[in-house]
């Protein structure tokens, strides 16, 4: 590949490799301008130029652990045997579920959907616990949105709502939205007005021209009031008491929004995961849409996982629905709350689980975790997790973006190819899933023969 070259300085040390324009999959920013220096002897990345503090940690701390490729009940087994066992579990289950997928490349995600289509399972992604509400909201109101480059080129009003990119997506400001100069924003930050709306003063605040502090849990009320004001309707005179934001501030913000040339509303989980959930996202998406009567306005969720957006896309084009999809009846059905993983587990519905690059055992609600302990779990992860330690079958897989290639989707639905830095002794999740899929096809065929 043309982007991989041996630099002059490294000539004496043939085991140093430079990967240019590599992609960082740590967060949804999916920055694709990494310059990685790789020590091939040590299987280590020694330098990650352009990476943010999180990205540096992601690249530099990554090594190849001494760990079995596959285990059954905590005991090392050959990969093949583990795949057999995984296929058997899924084949026999009456309500197998698959969850995770957001830290896997699209190629693996496609196989995961195929598996569920085959075993009549239930597939869900981490979207259901992060921006799933935005997905539901989207189905209700639609969305006016754009790629991040358009924000860079045109946005003169940038509003962040319920997010703290300085800590969660450190390069969001500098690479895409606030500081970069764009085609019609020749002076970068000077040409933009940045508003931060949050319940507290976060480390992101210094970037903003204005911080609007909303009372905790009052985002919806504030958004709703803004929608009414944008439409020229009145709101409760006690609005400051309700939301913590004065009418004057609201009026000023409304004027600013209506009069900008190209406005953007970014929103984070501070909005989607607080009381009101999809209605909060829906209110924000509707506000952006309403504003299009006056000017060009877009909204965009700030997504967390490296390829959660890819998961949404893959699941959508394969099933017609973005997440929470059930195949029991032989065709895809969608119903968040019914087919989303946390809810399924909390009700005790599932009887087997395939967990791909996710650690529900560490972050799900207690009731869900309790049920997870009762059923056979198959886990695929690049590192040992609570989930993999409890799993019936645990696969250790190569890390996407560092050890494996493939495609990921940035938070704005832009697909980007991965450029792996060095090889891994572990299989890719695509390989493991394909192995399971092939076995399942055989089991199904045998089942049919028996039936016949």
């Amino acid at each position: 590949m043309s982007e991989t070259k041996t630099p002059e300085a490294a000539k004496d040390e043939p085991n140093i490799r430079i990967v240019e324009d590599a992609t960082c999959t740590f967060c949804g920013c999916v920055c694709d301008d990494m310059e990685l220096t790789v020590d091939l002897d040590a299987n280590r990345i020694t330098k990650a130029k352009n990476a943010c503090v999180l990205g540096r940690a992601w690249f530099l701390q990554h090594g190849i652990e001494d760990h079995p490729q596959a285990m059954i009940d905590g005991r090392e087994v050959p990969l093949e045997e583990a795949m057999d066992e995984a296929a058997r579990i899924l084949h026999e289950a009456k309500f197998p579920i698959t969850y995770g997928l957001s830290d896997s490349p699209c190629e693996a995600q496609r196989v995961a959907v195929a598996i569920n289509d085959l075993v009549l399972g239930n597939i869900d992604t981490t979207t259901s616990v992060c921006h799933g509400p935005s997905g539901i909201a989207f189905q209700g109101v639609g969305e006016s949105t754009s790629t991040l480059g358009e924000v860079k080129n045109r946005a003169d009003l940038v509003i962040y709502w319920g997010g703290n990119p300085a800590e969660s997506h450190p390069r969001h400001f500098t690479r895409y939205t606030v500081t970069p100069k764009g085609r019609y924003i020749p002076n970068g930050k000077k040409d933009r007005y940045v508003v931060l709306i949050d319940v507290r003063k976060t480390p992101s605040a210094p970037v903003a021209d204005q911080l609007i502090r909303v009372k905790p849990g009052r985002d919806f009320e504030l958004l709703w009031a803004l929608r009414a004001l944008v439409r020229g309707r009145d709101v409760d005179p006690d609005i400051e008491k309700i939301t913590g934001v004065s009418r004057e501030v609201l009026d000023e913000l409304v004027e600013r929004m209506k009069n900008c040339n190209f406005g953007v509303l970014f929103f984070g989980m501070g909005l989607t995961m607080t009381r009101g959930r999809h209605f909060n996202s829906g209110a924000l998406l509707a506000l952006a849409t309403d504003l299009n009567k006056y000017t060009h306005f877009v909204a965009k969720p700030v997504r967390g996982h490296g390829n959660v957006t890819g998961a949404d896309n893959v699941v959508s084009w394969q099933t017609g629905y973005p997440f929470g999809v059930n195949f029991h009846r032989g065709y895809p059905r969608f119903n968040p709350g019914e087919y989303t993983t946390v809810d399924l587990l909390a009700r005790g519905d599932a009887d087997a689980a395939l967990m791909i690059a996710t650690d529900p055992a560490s972050n799900f609600p207690k009731r869900a975790i309790e049920h997870l302990k009762k059923i056979p779990v198959i886990s695929l992860d690049a590192k040992p997790t609570y989930t993999s330690r409890q799993a019936r079958v645990a696969f250790m897989v190569a890390t996407y973006g560092i050890n494996t290639g493939g495609t990921v989707y940035r938070m704005d639905d832009v697909p980007i190819t991965l450029r792996p830095a060095f090889d891994s002794p572990f299989p890719t999740d695509e390989e493991v899933l394909t192995g399971i899929h092939t076995r399942l096809k055989k089991l199904r065929a045998n089942g049919r023969k028996k039936a016949a």
Binding site: E221, W224, D349
Partner: protein, 270 residues
């Protein structure tokens, strides 16, 4: 005369049983009913695998046992009666257009989605999305009555277009969100953001409610039409006292982000 089905085997995973509806069993023999297909997770099973069936197919159906994991009871019903002595699972009475469903225990989420007529009565509690639209649909229930004597969770009657929903206990947040029209009566108090995005319709609360800033107070009144509804609910087994019947209610108009034609009536005093 009725047909009785008793759940004798507890399902390992949820069952989907649209066949538990008078239209589907009517005229069938006992063994015909036992052979009706259901889904047990991703497996096709028969009614007889889980239920003891007594009698042949009548237009009245009794279901005995804990059916809280049995989904779609009474789905698509047009007439007749289903009585559940116990609890019922999700999608109870989905798409029903006539007939009556009575549940002595609790119901789960999605009671009466896509309903257009008939009546569902639940003596216990129900879950989220009672009488609500499925995701992405602009319009929810088109008619009928859903009467829950206990509590319900969030999004009661979302996007409903017509019909009556009454809750004897408490309701969660977003009661009547995106409501198109229709009437919701909640007697035991409700969560926040009632009527968000409502276009038309009435939400009535016997308890004080915290309202969105986009609702505007009009006046208090003693609404005659409400007496009509409360009489009707009184006849349906709810206890309605004179204070609520003849009392004064504060009337709020909203939602102003929409047409501002909806109303929330909050009981004020005798």
């Amino acid at each position: 005369m009725h047909t009785e089905l008793e759940l004798t085997t507890a399902p390992e995973v949820p069952i989907e049983a649209e066949c538990l509806s008078p239209a589907k069993i009517k005229g069938l023999s006992q063994s015909g009913i036992e052979h009706l297909a259901m889904m047990h997770g991703n497996r096709k099973v028969r009614v007889g695998d889980f239920f003891r069936v007594t009698g042949n197919g009548q237009s009245s159906l009794r279901l005995e046992g804990d059916l809280s994991r049995v989904k779609y009871i009474g789905a698509g019903m047009k007439e007749g009666e289903v009585r559940v002595n116990g609890s019922a699972g999700m999608h109870l009475g989905a798409g029903m257009s006539g007939g009556v469903i009575r549940v002595s225990g609790d119901a789960s989420d999605w009671v009466g989605p896509e309903m257009s007529g008939g009546r569902i009565e639940v003596m216990g509690n129900a879950g989220h999305m009672v009488g609500s639209a499925y995701r992405g649909q602009r319009v929810g229930i088109m008619g009928g009555e859903i009467l829950i004597h206990g509590n319900v969770k969030n999004e009661l009657g979302s996007a409903m277009r017509r019909g009556l929903i009454a809750v004897g206990g408490q309701a969660g947040d977003f009661v009547g969100v995106n409501m198109r029209a229709g009437t919701i009566v909640v007697m035991g108090g409700m969560g926040i953001r009632a009527g968000a995005g409502m276009v038309r319709g009435s939400i009535i609360s016997f308890e004080p409610v915290e309202l969105l800033p986009t609702f505007t107070y009009s006046c208090w009144l003693r609404p005659t039409f409400l007496r009509f509804y409360l009489c009707h609910l009184g006849q349906s087994g709810f206890e309605i006292d004179d204070d609520h019947m003849g009392g004064r209610y504060r009337r709020y108009c909203g939602d102003s982000v929409e047409e501002n034609r909806g109303e929330i009536l909050v009981f004020d005093s005798r």
